[in-house]
Protein backbone atom coordinates (compact mmCIF):
# COMPACT_ATOMS: atom_id res chain seq x y z
CA UNK A 1 0.00 0.00 0.00
CA UNK A 2 0.98 3.61 -0.55
CA UNK A 3 1.07 4.37 3.16
CA UNK A 4 4.15 2.17 3.54
CA UNK A 5 6.27 4.45 1.41
CA UNK A 6 5.27 7.50 3.41
CA UNK A 7 6.17 5.63 6.58
CA UNK A 8 9.59 4.98 5.08
CA UNK A 9 9.92 8.64 4.22
CA UNK A 10 8.90 9.60 7.73
CA UNK A 11 11.67 7.43 9.11
CA UNK A 12 14.31 9.08 6.96
CA UNK A 13 16.37 11.48 9.01
CA UNK A 14 14.84 14.80 8.04
CA UNK A 15 17.45 16.94 9.73
CA UNK A 16 20.23 15.52 7.58
CA UNK A 17 21.47 18.16 5.19
CA UNK A 18 24.06 18.44 2.43
CA UNK A 19 25.42 21.92 1.64
CA UNK A 20 22.61 23.41 3.71
CA UNK A 21 19.89 21.72 1.61
CA UNK A 22 17.69 18.83 2.68
CA UNK A 23 18.96 15.39 1.70
CA UNK A 24 16.06 14.60 -0.63
CA UNK A 25 15.96 18.06 -2.22
CA UNK A 26 19.71 17.87 -2.81
CA UNK A 27 19.42 14.66 -4.85
CA UNK A 28 16.43 16.02 -6.76
CA UNK A 29 18.44 19.07 -7.79
CA UNK A 30 21.49 16.93 -8.51
CA UNK A 31 19.59 14.67 -10.92
CA UNK A 32 18.29 17.69 -12.85
CA UNK A 33 21.81 19.17 -13.06
CA UNK A 34 23.26 15.85 -14.27
CA UNK A 35 20.70 15.65 -17.09
CA UNK A 36 21.45 19.23 -18.21
CA UNK A 37 25.20 18.66 -18.13
CA UNK A 38 24.86 15.46 -20.19
CA UNK A 39 22.62 17.37 -22.62
CA UNK A 40 25.26 20.10 -22.97
CA UNK A 41 28.02 17.52 -23.59
CA UNK A 42 25.88 15.62 -26.10
CA UNK A 43 25.12 18.88 -27.94
CA UNK A 44 28.80 19.89 -28.12
CA UNK A 45 30.03 16.45 -29.14
CA UNK A 46 27.77 16.73 -31.33
CA UNK A 47 25.60 13.62 -31.62
CA UNK A 48 23.67 15.23 -34.49
CA UNK A 49 23.70 18.61 -36.21
CA UNK A 50 20.00 18.78 -35.37
CA UNK A 51 20.68 18.41 -31.63
CA UNK A 52 21.44 21.77 -29.99
CA UNK A 53 23.32 22.21 -26.72
CA UNK A 54 21.56 22.96 -23.46
CA UNK A 55 22.99 26.49 -23.37
CA UNK A 56 21.88 27.29 -26.94
CA UNK A 57 18.42 25.99 -26.12
CA UNK A 58 18.20 28.14 -22.99
CA UNK A 59 19.38 31.16 -24.98
CA UNK A 60 16.61 30.56 -27.51
CA UNK A 61 14.12 30.02 -24.71
CA UNK A 62 14.85 33.32 -22.99
CA UNK A 63 14.95 35.18 -26.30
CA UNK A 64 11.48 33.89 -27.15
CA UNK A 65 10.17 34.68 -23.66
CA UNK A 66 11.46 38.28 -23.79
CA UNK A 67 10.36 39.06 -27.33
CA UNK A 68 6.88 37.77 -26.42
CA UNK A 69 6.70 34.97 -28.96
CA UNK A 70 6.63 32.28 -26.29
CA UNK A 71 3.94 34.07 -24.26
CA UNK A 72 1.74 34.48 -27.34
CA UNK A 73 2.28 30.85 -28.32
CA UNK A 74 1.35 29.61 -24.87
CA UNK A 75 -1.76 31.79 -24.77
CA UNK A 76 -2.82 30.13 -28.02
CA UNK A 77 -1.99 26.58 -26.95
CA UNK A 78 -3.45 26.87 -23.47
CA UNK A 79 -6.98 27.67 -24.73
CA UNK A 80 -7.88 24.23 -26.14
CA UNK A 81 -5.73 22.59 -23.47
CA UNK A 82 -7.44 24.27 -20.51
CA UNK A 83 -10.92 23.74 -21.91
CA UNK A 84 -10.22 20.13 -22.87
CA UNK A 85 -8.50 19.17 -19.62
CA UNK A 86 -11.19 20.84 -17.49
CA UNK A 87 -13.97 19.04 -19.35
CA UNK A 88 -12.08 15.74 -19.17
CA UNK A 89 -11.32 16.13 -15.46
CA UNK A 90 -14.78 17.19 -14.31
CA UNK A 91 -16.84 14.86 -16.48
CA UNK A 92 -14.20 12.13 -16.49
CA UNK A 93 -14.02 11.80 -12.71
CA UNK A 94 -17.80 12.05 -12.38
CA UNK A 95 -18.38 9.47 -15.10
CA UNK A 96 -15.65 7.16 -13.81
CA UNK A 97 -16.96 7.27 -10.24
CA UNK A 98 -20.50 6.61 -11.49
CA UNK A 99 -19.27 3.64 -13.49
CA UNK A 100 -17.56 2.27 -10.40
CA UNK A 101 -20.75 2.59 -8.37
CA UNK A 102 -23.32 1.53 -10.93
CA UNK A 103 -23.19 -1.56 -13.17
CA UNK A 104 -25.51 -0.03 -15.76
CA UNK A 105 -23.22 2.98 -16.23
CA UNK A 106 -20.25 0.67 -16.44
CA UNK A 107 -21.97 -1.54 -19.00
CA UNK A 108 -22.76 1.48 -21.20
CA UNK A 109 -19.55 3.52 -20.99
CA UNK A 110 -16.70 1.08 -20.37
CA UNK A 111 -16.45 -0.29 -23.95
CA UNK A 112 -16.40 3.25 -25.41
CA UNK A 113 -13.49 4.37 -23.26
CA UNK A 114 -11.58 1.11 -23.54
CA UNK A 115 -11.77 1.41 -27.35
CA UNK A 116 -10.69 5.07 -27.17
CA UNK A 117 -7.78 4.22 -24.90
CA UNK A 118 -6.65 1.33 -27.06
CA UNK A 119 -6.96 3.13 -30.40
CA UNK A 120 -4.13 5.17 -31.95
CA UNK A 121 -5.76 8.55 -31.38
CA UNK A 122 -3.01 10.35 -33.33
CA UNK A 123 -4.27 8.56 -36.44
CA UNK A 124 -7.83 9.67 -35.70
CA UNK A 125 -6.99 13.36 -35.28
CA UNK A 126 -7.23 14.14 -39.03
CA UNK A 127 -10.74 12.64 -38.88
CA UNK A 128 -11.71 15.22 -36.26
CA UNK A 129 -11.29 17.96 -38.83
CA UNK A 130 -14.13 16.50 -40.92
CA UNK A 131 -16.52 16.98 -38.02
CA UNK A 132 -15.12 19.95 -36.15
CA UNK A 133 -13.10 21.91 -38.70
CA UNK A 134 -9.68 23.29 -37.95
CA UNK A 135 -10.40 25.71 -35.12
CA UNK A 136 -10.53 25.67 -31.35
CA UNK A 137 -13.27 23.01 -31.22
CA UNK A 138 -11.20 20.46 -33.14
CA UNK A 139 -8.17 20.96 -30.91
CA UNK A 140 -10.27 20.75 -27.77
CA UNK A 141 -11.76 17.49 -29.01
CA UNK A 142 -8.23 16.16 -29.61
CA UNK A 143 -7.27 16.99 -26.02
CA UNK A 144 -10.41 15.31 -24.67
CA UNK A 145 -9.88 12.21 -26.79
CA UNK A 146 -6.45 11.72 -25.24
CA UNK A 147 -7.13 12.86 -21.68
CA UNK A 148 -10.64 11.59 -20.93
CA UNK A 149 -10.21 7.80 -21.34
CA UNK A 150 -7.31 7.69 -18.87
CA UNK A 151 -9.16 9.81 -16.31
CA UNK A 152 -12.43 7.89 -16.69
CA UNK A 153 -10.90 4.42 -16.54
CA UNK A 154 -8.65 5.26 -13.59
CA UNK A 155 -11.54 6.77 -11.61
CA UNK A 156 -13.70 3.77 -12.43
CA UNK A 157 -11.08 1.26 -11.34
CA UNK A 158 -10.23 3.25 -8.23
CA UNK A 159 -13.84 3.19 -7.08
CA UNK A 160 -14.33 -0.45 -8.01
CA UNK A 161 -11.31 -1.37 -5.88
CA UNK A 162 -12.27 0.76 -2.89
CA UNK A 163 -11.57 -1.15 0.32
CA UNK A 164 -14.52 -3.52 1.01
CA UNK A 165 -13.54 -3.51 4.65
CA UNK A 166 -13.90 0.27 4.97
CA UNK A 167 -17.25 0.14 3.15
CA UNK A 168 -18.45 -2.56 5.54
CA UNK A 169 -17.21 -0.49 8.46
CA UNK A 170 -19.23 2.51 7.24
CA UNK A 171 -22.34 0.31 6.88
CA UNK A 172 -21.89 -1.17 10.34
CA UNK A 173 -22.06 2.36 11.78
CA UNK A 174 -25.28 2.90 9.80
CA UNK A 175 -23.78 5.25 7.23
CA UNK A 176 -26.13 6.10 4.36
CA UNK A 177 -25.16 5.24 0.79
CA UNK A 178 -24.34 8.90 0.17
CA UNK A 179 -22.08 9.08 3.25
CA UNK A 180 -20.47 5.84 2.14
CA UNK A 181 -19.64 7.38 -1.24
CA UNK A 182 -18.57 10.84 -0.06
CA UNK A 183 -16.80 10.02 3.21
CA UNK A 184 -15.31 6.61 2.44
CA UNK A 185 -15.25 5.52 -1.21
CA UNK A 186 -14.11 8.73 -2.93
CA UNK A 187 -11.31 9.60 -0.44
CA UNK A 188 -10.24 5.95 -0.52
CA UNK A 189 -10.12 6.09 -4.32
CA UNK A 190 -8.50 9.54 -4.42
CA UNK A 191 -4.87 8.39 -4.92
CA UNK A 192 -5.75 6.38 -8.03
CA UNK A 193 -8.17 9.05 -9.30
CA UNK A 194 -5.39 11.63 -8.96
CA UNK A 195 -2.90 9.32 -10.62
CA UNK A 196 -5.38 9.21 -13.52
CA UNK A 197 -5.73 13.00 -13.49
CA UNK A 198 -1.96 13.44 -13.65
CA UNK A 199 -1.66 11.00 -16.55
CA UNK A 200 -4.70 12.64 -18.14
CA UNK A 201 -3.20 16.13 -17.94
CA UNK A 202 0.04 14.83 -19.44
CA UNK A 203 -1.97 13.12 -22.21
CA UNK A 204 -3.86 16.40 -22.76
CA UNK A 205 -0.53 18.10 -23.51
CA UNK A 206 0.27 15.39 -26.04
CA UNK A 207 -3.20 15.90 -27.53
CA UNK A 208 -2.87 19.65 -27.94
CA UNK A 209 0.63 19.44 -29.45
CA UNK A 210 -0.49 16.67 -31.81
CA UNK A 211 -3.46 18.78 -32.84
CA UNK A 212 -1.22 21.80 -33.47
CA UNK A 213 1.18 19.70 -35.50
CA UNK A 214 -1.46 17.76 -37.44
CA UNK A 215 -4.45 20.12 -37.82
CA UNK A 216 -3.19 23.69 -38.14
CA UNK A 217 0.14 24.98 -36.86
CA UNK A 218 -0.65 27.44 -34.06
CA UNK A 219 0.87 28.22 -30.68
CA UNK A 220 3.66 25.96 -29.47
CA UNK A 221 3.02 23.54 -32.32
CA UNK A 222 3.68 26.40 -34.74
CA UNK A 223 6.94 27.31 -32.98
CA UNK A 224 8.08 23.69 -33.24
CA UNK A 225 7.08 23.26 -36.89
CA UNK A 226 8.38 26.63 -38.03
CA UNK A 227 11.80 26.38 -36.39
CA UNK A 228 12.23 22.82 -37.58
CA UNK A 229 11.48 23.88 -41.14
CA UNK A 230 14.14 26.62 -41.02
CA UNK A 231 16.60 24.38 -39.13
CA UNK A 232 16.79 26.57 -36.00
CA UNK A 233 16.84 23.52 -33.82
CA UNK A 234 17.66 25.31 -30.58
CA UNK A 235 14.39 27.29 -30.90
CA UNK A 236 12.50 24.11 -31.69
CA UNK A 237 13.96 22.36 -28.66
CA UNK A 238 13.24 25.38 -26.47
CA UNK A 239 9.56 25.09 -27.43
CA UNK A 240 9.55 21.36 -26.68
CA UNK A 241 11.36 22.04 -23.39
CA UNK A 242 8.73 24.52 -22.20
CA UNK A 243 5.95 22.04 -22.92
CA UNK A 244 7.67 19.42 -20.76
CA UNK A 245 8.37 21.97 -18.04
CA UNK A 246 4.82 23.30 -18.03
CA UNK A 247 3.35 19.80 -18.02
CA UNK A 248 5.57 18.76 -15.08
CA UNK A 249 4.56 21.82 -13.09
CA UNK A 250 0.86 21.10 -13.69
CA UNK A 251 1.30 17.47 -12.65
CA UNK A 252 3.22 18.55 -9.53
CA UNK A 253 0.50 21.01 -8.59
CA UNK A 254 -2.10 18.27 -8.86
CA UNK A 255 -0.07 16.11 -6.50
CA UNK A 256 0.16 18.95 -3.98
CA UNK A 257 -3.60 19.51 -4.18
CA UNK A 258 -4.25 15.81 -3.71
CA UNK A 259 -2.15 15.59 -0.56
CA UNK A 260 -3.57 18.80 0.83
CA UNK A 261 -7.24 17.97 0.38
CA UNK A 262 -7.47 14.17 0.33
CA UNK A 263 -4.40 12.65 1.91
CA UNK A 264 -3.35 14.75 4.89
CA UNK A 265 -1.61 11.71 6.41
CA UNK A 266 1.01 11.80 3.66
CA UNK A 267 1.95 15.40 4.35
CA UNK A 268 3.56 14.44 7.64
CA UNK A 269 5.89 12.02 5.91
CA UNK A 270 7.32 14.66 3.62
Amino acid sequence: MTTDTSTELARMPKSEKILGIYYLTFYQILSVVVVFVLWEIAGRYPISPAFPTFSATMYALFEMIFDGRMIAAFAETLKPLAIGVTISAVFGVFLGVSMGLNRLFQWFWEPIFVVLQASPVAALIPLITYAYGIGLAAKTVAVIMLAAPIIVLNSYKAVRHASPSLIQMCRSFQGTRLQEIVIVIVPNAAPVIFAGLRLGVAAGFIGVILAELLITPTGIGDLITYHRSIAEYNYMYAAVFTVILFSSVMVGMLETAEIKYFRPEKKKGR
Binding site: T3, S163, S165, Q168, R171, S172, F173, Q174, I183, N188
Partner: protein, 269 residues
Protein backbone atom coordinates in the same frame (compact mmCIF):
# COMPACT_ATOMS: atom_id res chain seq x y z
CA UNK B 1 -14.15 -28.20 35.38
CA UNK B 2 -17.46 -26.65 34.71
CA UNK B 3 -17.76 -27.38 31.07
CA UNK B 4 -21.41 -27.26 30.80
CA UNK B 5 -24.10 -29.65 31.39
CA UNK B 6 -25.33 -27.38 28.64
CA UNK B 7 -23.26 -29.35 26.15
CA UNK B 8 -25.10 -29.79 22.86
CA UNK B 9 -27.74 -27.44 24.13
CA UNK B 10 -29.27 -26.85 20.74
CA UNK B 11 -32.77 -26.50 22.04
CA UNK B 12 -32.61 -25.13 25.53
CA UNK B 13 -30.43 -22.28 24.30
CA UNK B 14 -33.48 -20.16 23.58
CA UNK B 15 -34.85 -20.38 27.11
CA UNK B 16 -36.83 -17.24 27.90
CA UNK B 17 -36.03 -16.88 31.58
CA UNK B 18 -32.59 -15.34 31.10
CA UNK B 19 -32.03 -11.86 29.69
CA UNK B 20 -30.44 -12.19 26.27
CA UNK B 21 -28.98 -9.26 24.42
CA UNK B 22 -28.97 -11.25 21.19
CA UNK B 23 -30.40 -14.46 19.85
CA UNK B 24 -30.17 -16.33 16.59
CA UNK B 25 -32.88 -18.74 15.55
CA UNK B 26 -32.54 -21.43 12.88
CA UNK B 27 -29.81 -19.43 11.22
CA UNK B 28 -28.77 -20.94 7.90
CA UNK B 29 -26.36 -19.50 5.39
CA UNK B 30 -25.41 -20.70 1.92
CA UNK B 31 -22.78 -18.97 -0.19
CA UNK B 32 -23.99 -19.64 -3.71
CA UNK B 33 -25.43 -23.12 -4.19
CA UNK B 34 -22.65 -25.25 -2.81
CA UNK B 35 -21.04 -23.69 0.22
CA UNK B 36 -23.09 -24.41 3.29
CA UNK B 37 -21.63 -22.08 5.92
CA UNK B 38 -24.20 -22.35 8.70
CA UNK B 39 -26.86 -24.97 9.33
CA UNK B 40 -29.90 -23.93 11.42
CA UNK B 41 -28.00 -22.57 14.38
CA UNK B 42 -29.90 -21.64 17.55
CA UNK B 43 -27.97 -19.65 20.08
CA UNK B 44 -28.49 -17.01 22.73
CA UNK B 45 -26.09 -14.41 24.02
CA UNK B 46 -26.64 -13.44 27.67
CA UNK B 47 -26.61 -9.73 28.48
CA UNK B 48 -23.47 -8.38 30.10
CA UNK B 49 -21.42 -11.43 29.15
CA UNK B 50 -18.68 -12.26 26.71
CA UNK B 51 -19.65 -15.05 24.35
CA UNK B 52 -16.97 -16.46 22.11
CA UNK B 53 -17.52 -18.25 18.83
CA UNK B 54 -14.65 -20.69 18.47
CA UNK B 55 -13.91 -23.25 15.84
CA UNK B 56 -11.65 -24.32 12.99
CA UNK B 57 -11.56 -22.24 9.84
CA UNK B 58 -14.63 -22.76 7.72
CA UNK B 59 -16.97 -23.27 10.68
CA UNK B 60 -18.85 -20.09 9.84
CA UNK B 61 -17.97 -18.11 12.96
CA UNK B 62 -17.21 -14.85 11.15
CA UNK B 63 -20.21 -15.47 8.89
CA UNK B 64 -22.45 -15.73 11.94
CA UNK B 65 -20.98 -12.59 13.46
CA UNK B 66 -21.49 -10.61 10.24
CA UNK B 67 -25.07 -11.84 9.95
CA UNK B 68 -25.72 -10.70 13.53
CA UNK B 69 -24.13 -7.37 12.61
CA UNK B 70 -26.46 -7.05 9.63
CA UNK B 71 -23.52 -6.92 7.23
CA UNK B 72 -24.50 -10.23 5.60
CA UNK B 73 -27.96 -11.58 4.84
CA UNK B 74 -28.92 -14.96 6.25
CA UNK B 75 -30.31 -17.49 3.81
CA UNK B 76 -32.97 -18.28 6.40
CA UNK B 77 -33.52 -17.81 10.10
CA UNK B 78 -33.76 -14.83 12.43
CA UNK B 79 -31.49 -12.54 14.40
CA UNK B 80 -33.00 -10.89 17.47
CA UNK B 81 -31.38 -7.99 19.28
CA UNK B 82 -33.03 -7.05 22.57
CA UNK B 83 -35.91 -9.29 21.51
CA UNK B 84 -36.53 -7.52 18.18
CA UNK B 85 -35.80 -9.04 14.82
CA UNK B 86 -33.15 -7.16 12.80
CA UNK B 87 -31.94 -7.42 9.20
CA UNK B 88 -29.53 -4.52 8.91
CA UNK B 89 -26.91 -2.74 11.04
CA UNK B 90 -28.34 -0.80 13.96
CA UNK B 91 -27.28 1.48 16.82
CA UNK B 92 -27.47 -1.35 19.39
CA UNK B 93 -24.53 -3.11 17.74
CA UNK B 94 -20.96 -1.93 17.13
CA UNK B 95 -18.38 -3.88 15.15
CA UNK B 96 -14.65 -4.26 15.76
CA UNK B 97 -12.89 -5.42 12.61
CA UNK B 98 -10.10 -7.93 12.22
CA UNK B 99 -8.17 -5.61 9.89
CA UNK B 100 -9.07 -2.55 12.04
CA UNK B 101 -10.82 -0.80 9.09
CA UNK B 102 -9.57 2.64 10.08
CA UNK B 103 -9.73 5.51 7.60
CA UNK B 104 -6.04 6.02 6.68
CA UNK B 105 -6.60 9.69 5.84
CA UNK B 106 -8.27 10.51 9.14
CA UNK B 107 -6.62 11.20 12.50
CA UNK B 108 -7.18 8.93 15.48
CA UNK B 109 -9.64 11.48 16.84
CA UNK B 110 -11.73 11.53 13.67
CA UNK B 111 -11.60 7.75 13.35
CA UNK B 112 -12.85 7.26 16.90
CA UNK B 113 -15.61 9.83 16.39
CA UNK B 114 -16.58 8.33 13.01
CA UNK B 115 -19.80 6.66 14.18
CA UNK B 116 -21.02 9.96 15.63
CA UNK B 117 -19.89 11.89 12.54
CA UNK B 118 -22.17 9.66 10.43
CA UNK B 119 -25.05 10.38 12.78
CA UNK B 120 -24.53 14.12 12.38
CA UNK B 121 -23.45 14.78 15.98
CA UNK B 122 -21.86 18.29 16.19
CA UNK B 123 -18.07 18.30 16.02
CA UNK B 124 -17.33 19.58 19.53
CA UNK B 125 -19.65 17.07 21.15
CA UNK B 126 -18.42 14.05 19.20
CA UNK B 127 -14.77 14.95 19.73
CA UNK B 128 -15.31 15.29 23.46
CA UNK B 129 -16.83 11.80 23.60
CA UNK B 130 -14.06 10.46 21.37
CA UNK B 131 -11.38 11.92 23.65
CA UNK B 132 -12.99 10.21 26.62
CA UNK B 133 -12.78 6.78 24.99
CA UNK B 134 -9.31 7.40 23.56
CA UNK B 135 -8.39 7.90 27.18
CA UNK B 136 -10.25 4.75 28.26
CA UNK B 137 -8.39 2.50 25.81
CA UNK B 138 -5.08 4.00 26.89
CA UNK B 139 -4.23 6.04 23.80
CA UNK B 140 -4.04 9.51 25.34
CA UNK B 141 -1.70 11.73 23.37
CA UNK B 142 -2.07 10.15 19.93
CA UNK B 143 -5.32 11.93 18.98
CA UNK B 144 -3.79 13.77 16.06
CA UNK B 145 -1.74 10.88 14.70
CA UNK B 146 -2.71 8.93 11.59
CA UNK B 147 -3.27 5.14 11.65
CA UNK B 148 -0.07 4.33 9.73
CA UNK B 149 1.92 5.95 12.54
CA UNK B 150 0.55 3.46 15.10
CA UNK B 151 1.40 -0.17 15.88
CA UNK B 152 -1.12 -2.95 15.21
CA UNK B 153 -2.13 -3.08 18.85
CA UNK B 154 -2.68 0.66 19.01
CA UNK B 155 -4.69 0.61 15.78
CA UNK B 156 -7.02 -2.00 17.23
CA UNK B 157 -7.39 0.11 20.36
CA UNK B 158 -8.60 2.86 18.05
CA UNK B 159 -11.04 0.36 16.54
CA UNK B 160 -12.27 -0.55 20.01
CA UNK B 161 -12.65 3.09 21.07
CA UNK B 162 -14.64 3.77 17.88
CA UNK B 163 -17.00 0.93 18.77
CA UNK B 164 -17.39 2.12 22.37
CA UNK B 165 -18.13 5.76 21.45
CA UNK B 166 -21.47 4.94 19.82
CA UNK B 167 -22.66 3.39 23.10
CA UNK B 168 -24.07 0.19 21.62
CA UNK B 169 -25.43 -2.60 23.84
CA UNK B 170 -23.37 -5.29 22.20
CA UNK B 171 -19.88 -5.27 20.72
CA UNK B 172 -19.21 -7.63 17.85
CA UNK B 173 -15.51 -8.41 17.68
CA UNK B 174 -14.17 -10.30 14.68
CA UNK B 175 -10.78 -11.82 15.59
CA UNK B 176 -9.75 -8.43 16.97
CA UNK B 177 -6.32 -9.55 18.12
CA UNK B 178 -5.25 -11.73 15.20
CA UNK B 179 -3.21 -8.91 13.65
CA UNK B 180 -1.69 -7.88 17.00
CA UNK B 181 1.62 -9.33 18.18
CA UNK B 182 1.66 -11.82 21.06
CA UNK B 183 2.88 -9.59 23.91
CA UNK B 184 0.56 -6.76 23.01
CA UNK B 185 -2.28 -9.21 22.60
CA UNK B 186 -2.03 -10.42 26.21
CA UNK B 187 -1.92 -6.89 27.56
CA UNK B 188 -4.80 -5.92 25.31
CA UNK B 189 -6.90 -8.91 26.47
CA UNK B 190 -6.45 -7.87 30.09
CA UNK B 191 -7.28 -4.25 29.32
CA UNK B 192 -10.32 -5.33 27.32
CA UNK B 193 -11.72 -7.32 30.26
CA UNK B 194 -11.29 -4.39 32.64
CA UNK B 195 -12.84 -1.99 30.20
CA UNK B 196 -15.83 -4.18 29.44
CA UNK B 197 -16.49 -4.81 33.11
CA UNK B 198 -16.53 -1.06 33.67
CA UNK B 199 -18.66 -0.31 30.61
CA UNK B 200 -21.07 -3.23 31.21
CA UNK B 201 -21.08 -4.28 27.58
CA UNK B 202 -22.18 -7.54 26.11
CA UNK B 203 -19.70 -8.96 23.65
CA UNK B 204 -19.80 -11.50 20.86
CA UNK B 205 -16.23 -12.43 20.13
CA UNK B 206 -14.83 -14.49 17.28
CA UNK B 207 -11.42 -16.09 17.61
CA UNK B 208 -9.45 -19.11 16.49
CA UNK B 209 -7.23 -19.00 19.58
CA UNK B 210 -8.31 -21.46 22.27
CA UNK B 211 -6.26 -19.75 24.98
CA UNK B 212 -7.76 -16.39 24.13
CA UNK B 213 -11.28 -17.82 24.18
CA UNK B 214 -10.84 -19.45 27.56
CA UNK B 215 -9.15 -16.39 29.00
CA UNK B 216 -11.73 -13.81 28.00
CA UNK B 217 -15.05 -15.66 27.77
CA UNK B 218 -18.01 -16.26 30.03
CA UNK B 219 -19.41 -18.64 27.44
CA UNK B 220 -17.61 -20.43 24.60
CA UNK B 221 -19.57 -21.76 21.66
CA UNK B 222 -17.64 -24.47 19.84
CA UNK B 223 -18.64 -24.73 16.20
CA UNK B 224 -18.09 -27.67 13.89
CA UNK B 225 -17.16 -26.99 10.27
CA UNK B 226 -18.97 -27.34 6.94
CA UNK B 227 -21.73 -26.78 7.57
CA UNK B 228 -21.30 -24.74 10.74
CA UNK B 229 -23.25 -26.26 13.64
CA UNK B 230 -22.99 -25.90 17.39
CA UNK B 231 -20.74 -28.65 18.69
CA UNK B 232 -20.94 -27.70 22.34
CA UNK B 233 -21.20 -24.77 24.72
CA UNK B 234 -18.62 -24.40 27.48
CA UNK B 235 -18.64 -21.97 30.41
CA UNK B 236 -15.05 -21.66 31.66
CA UNK B 237 -16.08 -19.83 34.89
CA UNK B 238 -12.71 -18.36 35.50
CA UNK B 239 -12.60 -15.67 38.12
CA UNK B 240 -10.86 -12.60 36.81
CA UNK B 241 -10.19 -11.27 40.29
CA UNK B 242 -6.87 -13.09 40.31
CA UNK B 243 -3.73 -11.74 38.66
CA UNK B 244 -3.53 -12.45 34.90
CA UNK B 245 -0.43 -14.58 35.37
CA UNK B 246 -2.11 -16.64 38.08
CA UNK B 247 -5.08 -17.23 35.81
CA UNK B 248 -2.84 -18.47 33.03
CA UNK B 249 -1.38 -21.06 35.43
CA UNK B 250 -4.77 -21.98 36.88
CA UNK B 251 -5.64 -25.68 36.60
CA UNK B 252 -9.22 -24.97 35.59
CA UNK B 253 -7.96 -22.64 32.83
CA UNK B 254 -5.46 -25.18 31.52
CA UNK B 255 -7.92 -28.10 31.69
CA UNK B 256 -10.53 -26.16 29.76
CA UNK B 257 -7.99 -25.39 27.04
CA UNK B 258 -7.03 -29.05 26.90
CA UNK B 259 -10.64 -30.17 26.70
CA UNK B 260 -11.43 -27.79 23.84
CA UNK B 261 -8.28 -28.80 22.01
CA UNK B 262 -9.19 -32.49 22.22
CA UNK B 263 -12.59 -31.66 20.69
CA UNK B 264 -11.23 -29.41 17.93
CA UNK B 265 -8.43 -31.81 17.05
CA UNK B 266 -11.03 -34.13 15.47
CA UNK B 267 -11.67 -31.57 12.76
CA UNK B 268 -8.07 -31.23 11.72
CA UNK B 269 -6.59 -33.33 8.96
Amino acid sequence: MSSANATNSLHDATSVDQDNVAEVRNLTKFYGEDIHALDSVNLSFPRGQMTTLLGPSGCGKTTMLKIIAGLLDATSGQVLINGKEVNSPGPERAFVFQDFALLPWATVLRNVAFGLELKGVPRAEREEKARHYIDEVGLTGVESKYPHELSGGMRQRVGLARALVVNADVLLMDEPFSAVDEQNRRKFQEDLLHLLAAEKKSVIFVTHSIEEAVYVSDQIVLLSPRPGRIHSIIRPEISHDAEPDAIRRDKNYLDTIEEIWSELRKYLD
